[in-house]
Amino acid sequence: MSGDERRRRLRHDLRTPLTIVSGFAEVLAGERPISDEDRREYASRIHAAAIEIRELVDALLEDEELRSR
């Protein structure tokens, strides 16, 4: 995979876990009642997605750094 293709894919891949974060955050912030069990489940999914986003951002930054050398 070329450098450009890799960066394009990384940027694209960022949207997928962001969808998870915004989707569950919307539910948590909404007015419909949520059970404690569901609340914990949704929060843990947001947490897992946030870890994935951090890894993708790290990879992107590393890529940019290598590129600028």
Binding site: H12, D13, L14, P17, T19, G23, E26, V27, R45, E52
Partner: protein, 215 residues
């Protein structure tokens, strides 16, 4: 009536998350898949009201999967799901016959609305994509015919009737009629003959030889 859905998304966490979120919105998720092959099997097995398909399924293409599903049965309803707002991808997606195009940055309630609209026979394009869709570049391009539509137009050009085409391709007459209707719509033709003329002019099919066989 509860809308039934097959969800095809290669990212496991998003697939599971969407299943939870859409179930919470009142949809019945009858199956989920992470690859084109599994997704195709699920759609064939469950005949859902609508299939939600990620445009990129690992190394596979959700657009190709949509084309295959609609070639087999043009009555199927597909919403493509993507993180990309690339115009070319959007046009290819809509050319594939998908009735809906939803962005991953949309909310679960927007996605639910898109799925309901398409399941009821309507079309949906994420509002964020409308400026791109209305751009000159997008509107100048004529949608291409699917492989099945070209095959049927080719047989019609050879003089076969719709019934004969259905018999030859082992399809129902209704399916053939739907393919013809879709091809006419794509080619902006008012009659079958007009559609054949445009298909010939645009090079989608070859002129038949004098003995009736394709050139």
């Amino acid at each position: 009536m509860t809308l039934s859905l097959v969800l095809i998304e290669d990212h496991q966490a998003l697939r599971e998350g969407l299943e939870l979120l859409l179930s919470r919105e009142g949809l019945e998720v009858v199956g989920t898949a992470g690859s084109a092959r599994e997704g195709r099997e699920l759609v064939e097995r469950h005949s859902p009201d609508v299939a939600l398909i990620d445009i990129r399924l690992g190394e596979e293409s959700g657009i190709d999967l949509t084309r295959e599903l609609l070639d087999d049965d043009p009555e199927r309803q597909v919403v493509l799901y993507t993180g990309s707002s690339d115009v070319e991808l959007l046009i290819s997606g809509l050319d594939s016959g998908a009735r809906g195009y939803a962005l991953k940055e949309g909310t679960p309630s927007e996605l639910t609305a898109a799925l309901n609209t398409v399941a009821e026979g309507g079309t949906y394009v994420d509002p964020r994509l409308r400026p791109a869709l209305l751009s000159r570049r997008a509107t100048q391009r004529m949608p291409s015919l699917s492989k099945r539509e070209r095959e049927i137009m080719d047989l019609l050009a050879q003089g076969l009737t719709g019934e004969q085409v259905a018999e030859k391709l082992v399809l129902s007459s209704e399916t053939v009629k739907t393919h013809i209707r879709n091809a006419m719509s794509k080619l902006e033709a008012s009659t079958r003959v007009h559609a054949i003329a445009i298909a010939l002019r645009e090079g989608y099919i070859q002129p038949p030889a004098s003995d009736g066989t394709p050139a």
